[in-house]
Symmetry: C2
Subunit: 357 residues, 2 copies
């Protein structure tokens, strides 16, 4: 179908590339972006790579009013021998379709989009930075564009991919963070949108995050919306506990995002014969185990930081200091291994990385 042949319009100017370890996350974009349209009856069509630039949307475009909007986040890494690697991009496109389904957005063809995404990254390969810890952040997203105030699924959408060079999350090495266990606000609940990466899930967390930050915390750890008892995840990370030699992480219960890093960590631990269990973890159980001196390490997992050690948890006035605010041995080993695979420094026995040609 000629309708589905990628059209390329090159940018006339090339922006200056910033020193990637000095840019604030998500504020600098590359020269081009990918755009594809959907219209009811026609499906996804007109895939294009065009110069990065503003969108024109009717003020009645449904995304502004009813929030049909989903997104993904993944990264491209430069290897020492100047190849460009993506980390499990198929998992992100799968999850995008899962998110879309939850908001009644039509699915994309994952294979087709994978090819477009690689063409975009390939075109922009000079934007993939090389300093250790840096990468090119890839943001695919879909928005509803039909101008219509009637509540209901849009009949028009735009799928886009934009790229942003990002610095090291932890300049100067891993640094344990302080996290507030949220006991008032709710991020997600069974039957809601928690397992999907929908735009609305994120701003819903701002009030809780702001009040946690005021008290010196970096982010919040969400509890389940029903009993405020079971641990779910952090703002943009899944969470793991090393307890008495075993690793435990909350099971996917319908309100937790299925992190790509989370699934990779589980596979990695299993390959190392370290016991790892996905189960419900109650905050009071964790606190009891903490008091018994059994909580050895806590770490968050996500595309942004890969592994983010937790040095302290604050829950209803009770403070749990983990591993004396120091990076745990397992956290460091996991970080080194995953980033090693992502950047081609280590062999990839799992088939996780995909090279961009």
């Amino acid at each position: 179908m000629s309708e589905n042949t990628l059209q390329l319009t090159k940018s006339e100017n090339q922006k200056a590339k910033p020193a990637s370890d000095q840019v604030p996350f998500g504020t600098t974009f590359t020269d081009h972006m990918f755009v594809m349209d959907y219209e009811e009856g026609q499906g996804w069509h007109n895939p294009q790579i065009v110069p990065y630039g503003p969108l024109e949307l009717d003020p009645a475009a449904m995304v502004f009013h009813y929030g049909q909007s989903v997104f993904e986040g993944l990264k491209a890494y430069r290897t020492a021998d100047d190849r460009i690697l993506l980390f499990r991009p198929d998992k992100n496109l799968q999850r995008l379709n899962l998110s879309s389904d939850r908001l009644s957005i039509p699915p994309i063809d994952e294979e087709e989009v994978m090819a477009y995404l690689q063409q975009l990254v390939s075109l922009e390969q000079d934007w993939v930075p090389s300093t250790p810890g840096t990468s090119l952040y890839i943001r695919p997203f879909i928005i509803s564009t039909e101008p219509n105030l009637a509540v209901g699924p849009s009949r028009k959408y735009k799928f886009m991919v934009i790229l942003s060079p990002v610095g090291s999350y932890f300049a100067g090495g891993l640094k344990p963070v302080i996290i507030h266990v949220e006991d008032q606000f709710t991020r997600a609940v069974k039957g809601g949108t928690g397992m999907a990466k929908t735009a609305g899930n994120y701003s819903a967390g701002y009030q809780a995050q702001a009040s946690a930050k005021k008290k010196g915390n970096a982010d919040v750890l969400w509890l389940d919306g029903i009993e405020k008892k079971y641990i779910e995840e952090v703002g943009s990370m899944n969470i793991f506990f090393k307890i008495d030699g075993e690793v435990v992480t909350p099971e996917l219960n319908g309100s937790i995002l299925k992190g790509v890093t989370r699934m990779s960590i589980i596979e990695l631990l299993r390959s190392w014969d370290i016991p790892v269990t996905e189960r419900r973890v109650a905050i009071d159980e964790l606190h009891r185990l903490y008091e018994e001196g059994k909580v050895e390490e806590i770490f968050g997992t996500g595309t942004a930081a890969v592994i983010s050690p937790v040095g302290e948890l604050n829950w209803m006035g009770r403070k749990m200091v983990i591993n004396n605010h120091e990076i745990g041995e397992l956290s460091q080993r996991l970080y080194d291994t995953v980033t090693g695979i992502q950047t081609g420094k280590l062999e990839d026995p799992f088939g996780w990385v995909v090279e961009v040609k």
Copy 2:
């Protein structure tokens, strides 16, 4: 402050005005719109009335990614003697600020915006239709516009008001609807965003609504997200029950929208000495009362339809037929009274209507 003086740029062309009872809801817009900008450090500034037309936004504008977006809905009505009336617009602007607060969006000045809104409606007064049941729908909304992929509140916003002439919700008089009681999906939960009019709340309901429609229902009645037991509200309406001579509506519990129609109906009933109680209503309690023959009327309340009689509720395979699928006496009386006040046909003893000069 000259920065806050309304600038008016008139449209060069005037669109043809449609026969208002033939337009689908929310698809036709007037010649002008109101726009005002926010920037951190500067506050809300640059209020403008400009020709209705597309917005230019960076693809990284935060509204697309993290869903900071709130809105309101109210109507302007034409009286028989050609005056234009708004119904309790102050309540909508109050609620807009409440919604904004929930998503960490800076508040607007309600009085200032009320004046702008009236100027816009006044300019577009020829767009307010006169056929009975028709009106000019007013949609104020706020979106975050800063181009930034870091999760957190935007430092830039746009507040806009667009206007759309709308036909009669019930051409040919009130018509009872069939409603599915949703027992799987969740709209909102304590600690979430249910009491706010956020964009994300609406698309989160599409899957449930689609499956209810497939089974012949017009919409869903949401239950609480924790026990799936207590009745909350319909898609875009609050809900009332007339049981054994008394009126009951779910109490505002933090996950239900505080409807302007809801509060007006409660005040009206009290002025008529009809007992009305705001309390928790369990779906199984309702079903028991139904089996005892005590459920006399059920109706939804909202700006769109004012009163929408419910003829049938379907809950886990059990069907409750209300008042033989006919309009209840109280539903009709409430509808006639509220629409009478809204259109100036009846006296307004409550000070609800505001005339646009």
